[in-house]
């Protein structure tokens, strides 16, 4: 739930094999999540009790769950939900995080202290606790889940952006550029943005991995999104009682979560993973 454990290291130039593998896996899963729900002709909520727990490879390509709902369709919709949720949360955390970080580094003084204070408050509790407390307001809804995740994840973007920008701004070549008469906008786009962009993209991949784990975990412990939403975490828990009859059905959504997170982590850090 936290990106803090992945202490930042500058990614190597270019794509290593590990990052390439991560990118490839991510494109494949992303394609499944985006194109899948559009081309798979089954409704993820349509029940067919005749096909309850249908085996893999029969009428249903990946089988059907205990209500006879197509597992392929549910997996595709679940992947889209996880992916979409993670992407939106990442944007909602990254945009304010980077902006506040830049402002704090640029202005310093009370502005910086104000942002630092807010960050300290957010970091006082483990991230998941804050999400859980917000979820208490309306369990099972997207709103508090999204808000809580964005609220905990923006801090990391803010801190990395602020620290890096501060170091850059205190260097002599920035002073030289200022004295040559270049404006703030020029310094920002030519000296600051190129340095922070790779860091922010690494953090973004981690934030998405964190969000995917959090969303599935919360619905698995039944405080997140509720069934019948095709959510990967709740699919695992729903199918668990039928493990003896259909073990693969339980493992499929679990494997999908694992691969999504793995792809993002590989992409983010390559060999340091």
């Amino acid at each position: 739930m936290s990106t803090v454990d992945q202490t930042y290291q500058r990614p190597k130039r270019g794509l290593g094999t590990t990052r390439l593998a991560g990118a490839g896996l991510l494109i494949f899963l992303g394609g499944f999540a985006i194109i899948g729900p559009a081309v798979i002709p089954f409704d993820p909520a349509a029940q067919d009790f005749g096909a309850s727990l249908a085996p893999i490879g029969g009428d249903y390509l990946l089988g059907a769950d205990h209500y006879g709902r197509s597992l392929l369709a549910r997996l595709a919709h679940g992947a889209r939900l996880s992916f979409g949720m993670a992407f939106l949360t990442m944007l909602a955390a990254a945009i304010p995080g980077v902006l506040f970080g830049l402002i704090a580094a640029w202005r310093g003084g009370w502005t910086e202290r104000g942002f630092e204070f807010v960050a300290t408050i957010v970091l006082a509790l483990p991230g998941l606790m804050l999400v859980l407390l917000l979820l208490a307001f309306s369990p099972g809804n997207y709103g508090p889940l999204f808000l809580g995740l964005a609220l905990t994840l923006w801090v990391e973007f803010y801190r990395v952006t602020k620290a890096t920008t501060k170091t850059i701004l205190s260097q002599p070549h920035i002073e030289a550029a200022r004295m040559l008469g270049f404006g703030s906008r020029y310094i920002l786009t030519h000296y600051v943005v190129p340095v922070i962009t790779p860091m922010i993209s690494t953090l973004a991949a981690f934030a998405m991995a964190t969000a995917i784990i959090a969303v599935s975990t919360l619905s698995a412990i039944s405080v997140g999104l509720q069934p019948p939403t095709p959510e990967l975490g709740s699919m695992i828990v729903e199918l668990l009682p039928y493990f003896a009859e259909a073990p693969m059905h339980v493992l499929l959504p679990a494997a999908l979560i694992f691969l999504l997170v793995l792809a993002l982590q590989l992409l983010a850090q390559g060999e340091r993973a």
Partner: protein, 314 residues
């Protein structure tokens, strides 16, 4: 001096935890549909015909008719006095319920931490002594895999393997060390996946360090070199990293307790949220938050003890 500064920072953090949890729960209490006094009265005396009278008494007794700001200050005041109120569901004092659950959760957290310290640093040590060797690669593969598995999936897999297929351990429950093993192992594997890599890097850095080579050149036996110059220096990043792992541990405790039906605070918190039992939400969240701060404080102290340089900086 430094110790005082560190502890002051942690005390401040504990204060912030209490205010954040208290404020959120105060708002939560007010926005829940229905009349708060009525709810509390129903929780205390059971819903019966004279509930409206009882609610009126509760309203006067608790001062629910006063301005919000006054109520909020009083809410925080009772938090400061550790008066956590009564559960809306069972009607018993929250503090009483927490006592039992806190013990269970602390045991789980300690067991998980100990297990992870048995697994992670040892795997890391072998990897770090010969970077790029087989042990290092196997360790890396394991770390990457276990980090990409969410704790609840890992818990389910362990449950399926060890209690369903092999029948060695009970899948749920509480009481004997056998029941704590699976949830603790779930958390420990996730923690070790992270700490093994930190240990590996720390050990590799120490093994390359000039002072390590010098200790050898001056003729110390290998065992003394590793013990006196290796372990302590390599332990510094591993221990300070435990501070960050406290986040994973606390979040994991919530998840894993719910999964294994382990009667700790995390389990109670999730239940309280589902039942919208605000005093219990507040009490359990507060206990988890303070546990987090306590772990961080202990890690601070151990780091200070291990690394005398920190005492000067702070």
């Amino acid at each position: 001096m430094a110790i005082k500064n560190f502890l002051l920072a942690r005390l401040l953090q504990a204060g912030i935890v209490a205010i954040v949890v208290g404020a959120l729960c105060f708002v939560l209490m007010r926005v829940l549909p229905g009349d708060a006094a009525m709810r509390i009265a129903a929780g205390r005396y059971g819903p019966d015909a004279r509930i409206a009278d009882a609610a009126e008494k509760v309203r006067l007794e608790l001062g629910l008719d006063r301005p919000i700001a006054v109520q909020f200050i009083e809410w925080l005041g009772s938090l400061a006095r550790f008066d956590l109120g009564h559960s809306l569901v069972t009607g018993r004092a929250v503090a009483h319920e927490l006592q039992v659950q806190l013990g269970a959760s602390v045991w789980l957290a300690v067991a998980a931490l100990m297990l992870s310290l048995l697994i992670g640093p040892i795997v890391g040590l072998f990897g770090g002594l010969r970077p790029g060797g087989t042990a290092d690669r196997v360790g890396l593969l394991g770390a990457v895999t276990f980090r990409a598995i969410p704790p609840f999936v890992l818990g389910l897999i362990l449950m399926l393997v060890f209690s369903r297929q092999l029948g060695w351990l009970p899948p749920a429950g509480f009481g004997s060390p056998r029941e704590i093993l699976l949830p603790a192992l779930t958390l420990a594997l996730g923690l070790a996946a992270m700490s093994s890599r930190v240990t590996r890097n720390a050990v590799a850095a120490v093994a390359r360090a000039p002072y390590f080579a010098f200790a050898r050149y001056k003729g110390l036996p290998e065992a003394v070199v590793v013990r006196r110059h290796g372990l302590r220096n390599a332990a510094i990043p591993v221990v300070s990293y435990l501070g960050l792992q406290a986040i994973y541990l606390i979040e994991g405790v919530v998840v894993v307790e719910s999964l294994f039906a382990y009667p700790g605070i995390g389990h109670a918190l999730v239940h309280a949220i589902v039942e919208r039992d605000v005093p219990m939400v507040q009490g359990t969240a507060l206990a988890m938050g303070l546990m987090f701060v306590a772990i961080a404080a202990i890690v601070d102290l151990v780091t200070l003890w291990l690394d005398p340089r920190m005492r000067k900086i702070a």
